[in-house]
């Protein structure tokens, strides 16, 4: 991974942001005419920064992530990702079942243009990074849920993007596995100097991971408030400081949700 880290740092010195979202709105055609899903979102992710987007259902957080990933276009505003196409991780592992774990990673390398001879070694290195040294030849269905998400993480890292987008990647995992993967993600983020934009509806998860938590209001999604998290890593989800800030953010989130019941 040494090569990847160096590259990411080089880029970090050149650009001032890993993602710049400026006045972005998005509306979809719905049964009652155009429906505004995202309303005038402006958000910067600094190089090497870890930002979580937090919100209840219907806040458009996944929509925003799709826009940043380039899978969809904003109705208004602009999105700039100077590091090229961002990597994206989903709630489902989205690994291809016709390939082994190693070959899944190699496909990402191949599509990135890595020469054939270097792919296998690079895939092994990435598997080591997520501590799955023995998983190269394993089929997807032979891996546990947590292992699948780690292979998916390795595949996302294989894109060598300096921005990693994560769409509730741990939501379907059990609590212990999720806890372990939080630790892994923090470690990898620190080792690689990636910028991460992480979407979740889990307040504690947001506080556990991020340097900055951005709260979105629902229908349409607007940035309601943001917090800087000054708790030193490695954190744990049970830490008192994490719990304290989570409580504050949860109150705010509940307030946002309550507004929708009043009319």
């Amino acid at each position: 991974m040494a090569i990847t880290i160096a590259k990411a740092e080089d880029r970090a010195t050149v650009t001032t942001h890993a993602a710049r979202i400026e006045h972005v709105s998005k509306s979809f055609a719905g049964p009652a005419g155009r429906q505004l899903v995202l309303d005038d979102i402006t958000l910067d992710v600094a190089p090497g920064e870890f930002v979580t987007l937090l919100g209840a259902s219907g806040c458009g957080k996944s929509t925003l992530l799709n826009l940043v990933a380039g899978l969809d276009r904003p109705s208004a505003g602009s999105i700039d990702t100077p590091g090229g196409r961002p990597a994206l991780m989903f709630q489902e592992h989205a690994l291809f079942p016709w390939l082994t774990a190693g070959k899944n990673i190699e496909l990402a390398l191949r599509l990135r243009g890595v020469p054939r001879g270097e792919r296998r070694g690079e895939a092994q290195r990435l598997l080591e990074l997520v501590r799955l040294n023995g998983a190269y030849g394993k089929r997807v269905h032979e891996l546990s849920g947590g292992m699948r998400q780690r292979v998916a993480m390795a595949r996302a890292l294989a894109q060598d993007s300096d921005l990693l987008l994560m769409d509730e990647p741990f939501a379907a995992l059990d609590a212990i596995t999720r806890d372990v993967l939080h630790g892994e993600l923090t470690r990898i983020w620190e080792e690689t100097n990636l910028s991460v934009l992480f979407v979740t509806h889990n307040v504690r998860e947001a506080v556990r991971l991020a340097q900055r938590v951005v709260l979105l209001s629902s229908r349409p999604g607007r940035i309601a408030r943001e917090w800087t998290v000054d708790i030193e890593q490695p954190r744990r989800i049970e830490d008192a400081a994490v719990a304290e800030l989570s409580l504050e953010i949860t109150e705010e989130l509940r307030g946002e949700i309550r507004r929708h019941g009043q009319h």
Binding site: F96, W98, L107, V140, E142, R187, I231, E232, P234
Partner: protein, 297 residues
């Protein structure tokens, strides 16, 4: 966090690695293969028992003289027909005439049906134009194509291949279309984020993801090839066409040779099953197993 010194950080990461290794060991899915003995008892024995039962019932009916002997021959009479063909050396010629025709016809159907299926699946206009016709053709019995094919091409091999193609191409194309339609959108999104768009997307994501549906289409395509050919051989018999299984059946009718008719039917059935068991089922099973889609019963 009260302690943030390096030693505690280091031990914490070690903790994490150990915890993770434990979780992986606990949750790893064990994939075992069924032992040969179990396969024999569970998969091979039941059909053998069924065949034995059919033979038994058949023999009982013959012994009880439920009908005239020329209508229901004894199993031994059918066996004698088989032995005669074997001794005359015509058995393999007859089998090979039909099997080689069906396989060659199937390969041609494969070569035409695959690009056709891709076109229908991926190009919206083509799908709207010929998609419904293609699936409608599947319900048209291919025997219906024999009379026009005879008039178009005469009693030749090319007429047989035409009937096979008209029967099998829609199945293969439709199988591929169904396979492509069932590719989970998540795979397409994941492929796009990895940079697999356009032709690269078709090659690396769509085609491999559609493989199970495509194989199912091939399997059905083979069944249609074989059925179409038999229909063609029964209806269009001519000395120039050589003796295939269909003609064998038709000759049995002309000669009022019931054991010969039974033999021909059994051979047609056996060939159809054998090709499926030897080629398509193993192919399908290995693809499904490697994807963890094969549910153990």
């Amino acid at each position: 966090m009260a302690s943030t010194d390096t030693t505690s950080t280091a031990s914490k990461t070690d903790d994490l690695a150990g915890l993770e290794a434990g979780l992986d060991a606990l949750e790893a899915v064990q994939v075992t293969r069924t032992p040969v003995r179990e396969v024999l008892v569970k998969k091979v024995l039941p059909p053998l028992v069924a065949v034995a039962l059919v033979l038994l019932v058949w023999q009982v009916l013959v012994s009880a003289k439920v009908t005239d002997e020329y209508k229901l021959p004894a199993p031994s009479a059918v066996w004698d027909s088989l032995a005669t063909m074997w001794l005359q050396g015509t058995l393999f010629d007859v089998l090979w005439t039909s099997v080689s025709r069906a396989l060659l016809g199937f390969l041609m159907a494969l070569a035409i049906g695959t690009p056709l299926g891709l076109l229908v699946a991926r190009v919206r206009f083509v799908r709207a134009a010929i998609g419904p016709i293609l699936s409608g053709l599947q319900s048209l019995p291919s025997v219906a194509w024999v009379p026009p094919a005879v008039l178009w091409l005469g009693l030749q091999d090319s007429m047989m291949y035409t009937v096979i193609l008209l029967g099998a191409v829609p199945s293969i194309a439709n199988g591929l279309v169904a396979g492509v339609d069932q590719v989970p959108p998540l795979f397409l999104r994941a492929g796009r984020t990895l940079g697999a768009t356009g032709l690269r997307g078709a090659r690396h994501i769509v085609m491999p993801a559609a493989l199970p549906g495509y194989l199912a289409g091939l399997k059905q395509g083979w069944a249609f090839s074989w059925r179409s050919l038999m229909a063609a051989e029964i209806i269009a018999s001519s000395p120039e066409l050589g003796l295939g299984l269909g003609q064998l059946l038709e000759n049995g009718r002309n000669n009022i040779d019931m054991p010969g008719i039974f033999l021909a039917i059994i051979l047609i059935l056996v060939v159809g099953i054998a090709i499926d068991l030897l080629i398509f089922s193993p192919l399908e099973r290995s693809v499904l197993r490697s994807r963890g889609l094969l549910v153990k019963s």
